[in-house]
Each structure stands twice: as structure tokens, then as C-alpha cells.
Symmetry: C2
Subunit: 415 residues, 2 copies
């Protein structure tokens, strides 16, 4: 079953908010064997919303809509849906009661605008929203279903998980399956890999598809299988995945769809090793990536984010003389930092970074984008200087990515 | 001038990669006074890409396309563009030479697929890409311009900043201006604010528009002005922004478009206060949010990410007896952590968190989503327990948001 999303909001189109809802919904749809085939992001304008709906219903029977349901004037989704479905608004007493209670609980005062959150189009079935003031609206006409949900991620997620998915399944009585299997490789280029896998790809059955998702130094290989026979989809996907991992075994370091930090965590856990970090320029982002992984407390003990030099000397035991001689962004400093982290946090392995994320702080010798990264496992330490770009946010991301990759390289060297 | 984006890639529609390119491009377009009016995310399918282009050109004269330009089989954008513009591919010698040199520098071996990155459609003008193997392609036909760019953010960003924007300006000789002014308020609901601002909103000139962007406890208010007369747009925007900030002064804590951490940083800098963090469940994410702000080293000294209890006792001086008596997720523990951070990192202010992000580790008394947060400034400490949901990633985000908010509340209380 194919689904389209229409995401509504000026904030998405001036780049103030990133649409993470669509990706989340896509993953939930895939779990029930449905596919998201298109996302359209439109402004808070009635005509644009209506056109998007009409176009989407020309292609699919299910449209999920997010956003534009707040109490303020810029949000016009509800009014627009009334125009589309040629109906008026009426007050839903249950929504009203839920919102009243919600406001009492939170100690807020109900006002005219919030009160109007209980107005709903006559043409829809209301799905009650216990986690926010805007109800979810289900429209079903001419065999086509439109579900309008709040854009606030937690409210949308609640609605999808608790109501919308199961209602859609029931409504369309559809059981076609989509399954994915993913592995991660490093030490080979995307095109090198494509040549290695040419015969494999050509021999794939038509319902299985291979995709390459490269990210500096790491390539995610994803097999997707689609079909009506769930058992056959699963069996054939597993068979092809075994072939794929065997063909790429020299470069393979992870057999599941996880982040770089997740892959590193799996290796540490398997080898019963512990990890800590000492971060300067990455400012806690490596720790954040590591701790995003559920269960990371099994191997990760913590980080000393040493943004100030005195923290490097006092808590990590970096010598002030080394800083004075080599500068704080240098291999000797990160080598001392990584040893300091192993010692202060009592871990087998450690990662340390010191660099210039920008926009200021660069010099001709060490421009913005320079970073020193050291990784250690037991007595073995590897330190390297890297050079990236000018953008602070991108630099922090890249420094983090390369620090994790350098740690992985130490643990799983490629010959 | 209105622009649409077509983002191409199966990975975007199964939720494996989030489209951050469109938001970035939107911000660059706004800077030159152009507007992004729609984003369409489509799969790597020729027909779907072609339909999206035809539809977009029915609405606007400029379409920016991202993605689908890798060397592997799943990427079919180039082939599709040849079909759309009824032309063949030819080898561009300059792209070939640049890619050859790039591979030599990186120590990679050129292969058939990478070699074909130098194939370009006859109908396009090539914009050379010094930061990747896929060239940017500029198509100009019947007064409509389509620019196809790589989906890799750094390559797309390089192309837009260095070539595409200036070429588009020149091509369309358009100078209409769009300006935004944003401020942040707290301590009032969205609808309470809407009522407070009702007269103001109704009196706004038709070319100025007010938007509300709420996020748990904080509302971002954005005025957008559009027009041909740049000076008038600026003057009137400033005049209305002054009115807005004066009307909301009781709730206002920031007069620029920045993150919560950015707003906090501005206050710390102004008051010459320093900050440190002691993070358990947030695992470095507060430090990361703080250090994303350029210039944060002026007030932020660092963090002790104490994921393991021994780090809490050894580096932050939390008493083992307190942990045993109250549990690690408790007000007494975060109060000791926040004091420990102030002491160990020598700062005026500090933030400490200890909680259960999930999915495991919850108990009936302290379920997943429970977090204790303490903030301190000098001798003043405020600690609170909060309860959120079940999702680990969302919990880490919310814990972080509320920790920053709690610190802001201590520094700027609302009566």
C-alpha cells in the first residue's frame, strides 16, 4: 500500500524547522509493510494545501498530513480541510472536555483561541489526542483516506502509534510486506563496491533492490524486498543478505542498520571492552552519539568535555608545557588527553579530540577545520591530524564521525 | 522569486536519511530575497522524478534538484534528465580530469563507474564540482531553470554558495527582498500570546506576517516581510519588531533567532558568568547544544559526562551513601552533581542531569522518562524532577531542552 505525506508549515520552508516527522512515519509504515512514496512540503496557504491533496489523491489512496493545527492565525489547515470536504466546523464536546482538563492540570487559563481547538470539520471522524490540544482528523471519501495530525513530533507519534496505523490496516485490509536488511562496510569506495557487487546485483530477483548510502569513509548497503508473500520476502531477503555480507566480508564491520556509534558499541560489547572520551572541539557530541545507543552504559563510562585548557590540565593531566610547545590542537596534546581519559575514567579504550570548529580561532598554520584525533585501546594509541571545512556545525559532525571511524579502524583494521 | 526543490532518494522515503538540504537551501534563498515555496521528496524512479519536474515547472521557473547522482545503479537522476531534456550523455573532459586528479590525491583507483561520473547530458551547462565527483548540471529551457546537484550536504552547499545562487540572481535579474526578525518568549501559552497580540496582528501591513513556532515552554515569534523595496521592507520590519518586543517584554528573553543554548549564552556573556555541566542521562547532549554556539568558549568551560556511577563519585564528589539512599535519579544526587561541576570546573553556573532515557532501566517508582535536573548559579540551586515519554532519542532531547530552560528560568525568572 502506497502512502503520501503532506507536511504543512512556513517554518519548514524557511529552514527554521527540519521535517523529521516524515522519516519517522516512513519507518512506521515500513514496519506494517506499507511504503511512503512521496513527501510534499507546502506553506500555510489554503490553495497550496488543497492542490497538494488533489494531486496526491491522483496517485495514492492514503494521505497523511502533518502540521498547521495550532490555535493561532497562521495555522489554516482545519479551515482548508472544511473547504476541501465542503463542510462546516462544529464543536466536539469530548475534545473540549479533554482540553479543559488538560489546562486545569497544567495550571493554564483557557482562552477563546484554545477553546476553538475543539472545533472540528463535520466531514471528519475525530481521533482523540490525549497528548495535545489539537485532535487528529480522519476523512474518508470516495475510497480515499486523509488523516490530519499535529506537526508537534510527540503528538504525531502518539497518534500514529496508538491509532492511525491500526485504523489504516483495518480500513484497507492490506498485508503486502516490505523488509530491509542493512550492513556497513568501510575501506572501499562506492564505485569499487559497485563493481565488486555487479554480478550479485544483476542476479537479484526483481522484487529485491540494492541501495548504497555512502557517508565519508563508510557505506551502508541496504537490500529491500517487497511482495505479497511475507514468508517468501523474508526468506529470499535473508538468502541474498548472506550472499551480500559474504561478498563484502573483507570490508564489513556491522551487520545491522545502526549508527557508527552503534557499530562501535556492538564491537566493544562483544570484546568486553570499556570506552571513555575526552572532547575539546567536539564539545560532547561524541559522547552524545555514543549514548544515543540504547544499552551504551554497558561499555561507555563517560566523557570529560575539556573546552577550557585548565580542564585539560587539571582533569586529564595534559602538561601545560606540551600545550605551550605544540599548541592545544596538536598530536602530543590529544595523545595525553586520550591517556588521561583512560586513566581518569578507568577504561580500556578512549577517544580524544582537539581542533578548531570555527568560525573563529583559526591561524595560517592551523586553519578552521583542523582537528587532532587520538584513539587508544590498552597501550596502543593512534593519533592523526585532519582538515575539514569552514562551517562550525558541519565540522563538529565530521570531527565526530572521523573520531568514531578512527576508533573503529583501530579495533577492526582493514588490510 | 519563487523556487521549488525536488529531493531525490529512496533513503529519504524509508526514513534512513533526513532531508536537511532543503532547509539549508531555504535559508540561502531567503538571504537573497527568494522564497522556497514547495519541497517534493521523490523516490529514485524515472517517472516520478519527471512528473515532479513537470508539475513544479507548472508553478515556478526555478527548480533545484538534490540527490541521485552517485555512481551506482540505484542513482538514475542523470539518465532521467536526459529523457526530460531529450538529449544524450557525453563525456566532459574537464570533469574527467578533475576526478582523475581527485582519485590520485586520495589514493583511490578509478574504475568504470567512477569514470562515468564524467558523463553529462548534452542539454546542460556543467558547473564544476571541486569537492566531489558528480558535477552540478544547469538546464535552461523555455525560461525555466533546473539545477541538479549532489545530495551530499557538503557538495550541495559548496555548489549553492559558490555558483548556483549568484548564477540564479544574474539569470533572473530579480531583487525582491524577504527579511525575518525573530524573538523568543517563555512563561505564556501560544494562545495566550495570540490574544495578547491580536490587535498587533490585525494592524500589520499586508506585506508583513507573524508566525508562532512553539516548542515546549518556549515560543519563537517570527515576523516576515516581503517586498520589492528593500529599504521599506527593512524599515517597516524593524518598526513592527520593536512593537512586538515591547508588547511581549514581560515574557521576552531573547531578541534574535538563536537556539535555547544561544539565548542562554548571550545572557551569560552579558553578565560575565561561566558555565559547566555534569551530565548523566543526557550523555553530553547539553554540552553539545552549548558548544554548537559559536563563541561559547567565552563562557563554557566543559562537562563531566558521568555515565558510570563511579565517575559521579570520583570526579563530581557525589556521595556513594546518597546514591544508595535516594537512588542515582534523585534530587539529592543532581544537587551534589551540580555543586561538583561548579567546583571541579571552576564555574559560576552549572547544570546537572540524572535520569532514565530508556528503553531499559525504568522501575515502577521511576519509570523511563524520569529525570532529575539541578541548576545552580553561585550559591543558588534549583532542582526538579520531570517526567517524559518512552522514546530514548526524544527523551534525551527533552531532558536537554528542559535543563537549558531551567537554567534560563533561574537567570531570568518570570513573575
Amino acid at each position: 500500500m502506497n502512502v503520501e505525506i503532506i507536511a504543512i508549515g512556513d517554518e519548514l520552508l524557511i529552514g527554521q524547522v527540519t521535517d523529521t516527522n516524515s522519516g519517522w512515519i516512513a519507518r512506521q509504515l515500513n514496519h506494517i509493510g506499507w511504503e511512503l512514496t512521496k513527501v510534499t512540503v507546502v506553506r500555510d496557504r489554503g490553495e497550496e494545501i488543497k492542490n497538494a491533496v488533489v494531486e496526491a489523491f491522483g496517485r495514492v489512496s492514503v494521505v497523511l498530513m502533518t502540521g498547521g493545527l495550532g490555535p493561532t492565525k497562521d495555522d489554516i489547515t482545519k479551515k482548508t480541510l472544511c473547504e476541501l470536504y465542503e463542510c462546516a466546523l462544529h464543536r466536539d464536546e469530548k475534545v473540549q472536555a479533554m482540553n479543559d482538563e488538560r489546562f486545569v492540570q497544567k495550571g493554564f487559563t483557557m482562552n477563546a483561541l484554545t477553546r476553538d481547538q475543539a472545533l472540528v470539520p463535520d466531514a471528519c471522524e475525530v481521533i482523540y489526542n490525549p497528548v495535545g490540544t489539537a485532535p487528529v482528523m480522519w476523512f474518508d471519501r470516495d475510497g480515499k483516506v486523509l488523516v490530519s495530525m499535529p506537526g508537534v513530533p510527540s503528538e504525531m507519534q502518539y497518534a500514529v502509534s496508538h491509532e492511525v496505523l491500526s485504523r489504516l490496516r483495518e480500513r484497507f485490509n492490506d498485508h503486502s510486506a516490505v523488509r530491509h536488511a542493512t550492513c556497513l562496510v568501510k575501506g572501499i569506495t562506492e564505485s569499487g563496491l559497485a563493481i565488486l557487487l555487479d554480478d550479485f546485483e544483476n542476479a537479484l530477483p526483481p522484487f529485491i533492490h540494492l541501495a548504497y548510502l555512502p557517508k565519508t569513509g563508510v557505506i551502508r548497503l541496504r537490500l529491500t524486498a517487497t511482495g505479497d508473500d511475507e514468508a517468501r520476502v523474508e526468506t529470499e531477503l535473508n538468502r541474498q543478505f548472506d550472499k551480500l555480507t559474504s561478498l563484502t566480508s573483507r570490508y564489513l564491520f556491522c551487520r545491522e542498520d545502526t549508527s557508527l556509534a552503534g557499530a562501535l558499541g556492538a564491537i566493544l560489547k562483544e570484546r568486553k571492552l570499556t570506552l571513555s572520551t575526552a572532547e575539546s572541539c567536539t564539545g560532547g557530541n561524541i559522547a552524545h552519539e555514543i549514548t544515543l545507543v540504547a544499552g551504551s552504559s554497558a561499555y561507555y563510562k563517560g566523557s570529560i568535555v575539556s573546552y577550557a585548557n585548565e580542564v585539560k590540565t587539571e582533569l586529564l593531566g595534559v602538561s601545560a608545557a606540551t600545550i605551550a610547545e605544540h599548541g592545544v590542537v596538536s598530536l602530543p596534546v590529544v595523545e595525553q588527553m586520550v591517556k588521561g581519559a583512560q586513566r581518569a575514567l578507568h577504561t580500556d579504550c578512549a577517544i580524544a579530540t582537539s581542533g578548531i570548529a570555527g568560525p573563529d580561532g583559526g591561524s595560517p598554520q592551523k586553519p578552521v577545520g583542523t582537528v587532532a584525533i587520538a584513539v587508544a585501546c590498552g597501550d596502543k594509541t593512534v593519533s592523526k591530524m585532519w582538515h575539514f571545512g569552514k562551517n562550525r556545525e558541519t565540522n563538529i559532525e565530521r570531527f565526530t564521525h572521523h573520531a568514531l571511524l578512527q576508533m573503529l579502524d583501530l579495533l577492526c583494521p582493514q588490510e
